[in-house]
Amino acid sequence: MTNPEEQFNPLDPTGILKSVRDANMDAWAKMMVNLVQSEAYAESTAAMLDAWLTSSGPFQKAVESSMSQTMAGLNLPTRDDMTRIAERLTNIEMRLDDIEAKLDESLQPPKPGDQGS
């Protein structure tokens, strides 16, 4: 408990705010944890998320479509083009990694006891 005489100290201007916070924070935190763990919260969050995704979908699609048309008109690669190139680069990287693995294996000094060919 906070001593009433210590509630306001002009040399600690934030002290009174701290007292209020200390007195209420734990209860507030517990209440909020109980709230977010409730069935109602889970349901409403899922519903809101779903509504947002559904409502923003057509708008997003329209923007993407017009952007693709604009980029194509300007002879510039679209996001899809860049994505396809990036995927191909990753595949090439994997091939290179496979080759490196085989090189590492062939360049490894023979283990003691191994018969040289």
Partner: protein, 369 residues
Amino acid sequence: MSDQPTPVAETPPQVPMFSDMCSAWHRVAENWDRFNRVVTTDAKIAQTPKEQVWALNKAKLYRFIPTVPETERKRIPLLMVFAIMNRPHVLDLRPGHSFAEYMLQRGYDLYLLDWGAPGPEDKNLTFDDYTLEYLPRIVRKLKHVSGCSEFSMLGWCLGALISTMYAALRPDDGLKNLILLTAPLDFSDKSAGGFTRWSSHSAFNADTIVQKLGNVPGEMIDTGAKMLKPVENFFGSYMMLWDNIEKPGAVDAWHAMNTWVRDIIPMAGGAYQQLINDFYKENRLMEGTMALRGETVDLHKLRANLLNVIAEADHITPPCQSEGIMNVVGSEDKEVLRVRGGHIGIMAGRGAEKNTWPHIEGWLAARSD
């Protein structure tokens, strides 16, 4: 000398001088300025010297530069695998408080895997890819660089999930010791933890999220994690900083941690779908029905020595999600370590250096030569 007591001057009631009040307010203004700077800037983190030894797509494997002579080093190297939706810098937070630095000083040949931030082209990456495409390549490179056919692996959060599946699917790949930190593996209790409650709800549809967004934005994951303890995360953390704003050590620690927390990255859509549908909703790993690239993950086949570190106050991975594996794995040498603290705090909090790190190091040291 007279017998009469010396009169004591009465202390006047202390009334603060105007100048004292001005200086107090001035201090508050200075503190506010410092607070603002700390909250909005990045601290230097992940400073332990390391070199990149391998890269594929966004993933990178680093080797920390050893700090002890080769003759004094542990024979078996250690690979650290962090989660796929955060940066791994929390394992090397700041000089003087870095798990990587701690392990280097104790003679480990130390490797860190950074999965990197997935781009739009990575939206179809799944746990199949992380576990059976990336990790085996990383292990091959680690073995080549270290010159050792055996290795230890430390997996944290979803990194522990990937490590566990790898250990079960590739038991003969040289994995000697497996350390799991706050591993989300068993989702049989649908009432345990906010994530399980939210994602298990029938109205929550991961497929729609991924279909509309591709990768799941880091902000969405970050907000979800913070909403598990909203008051602590949105207010408490900043109040703790304000309370300690005049203590440079505490401010530095907070600044480093906040820098890591702010550095959010998206999660590959395919992996997110799997996480929600196969793990959270259907608990496939523990049910024995999880299959990666057609191979069923049989936890009985996990034979590596196992240390399972559980955070008792973990609200992201409640202890019950990590405990179940101990009865299922085929490891003969297995141990559970329960640590007081939260999901991140057990490894990056103030007590980590005294509680968690020495225990992990001690356990590993006995099995690394």
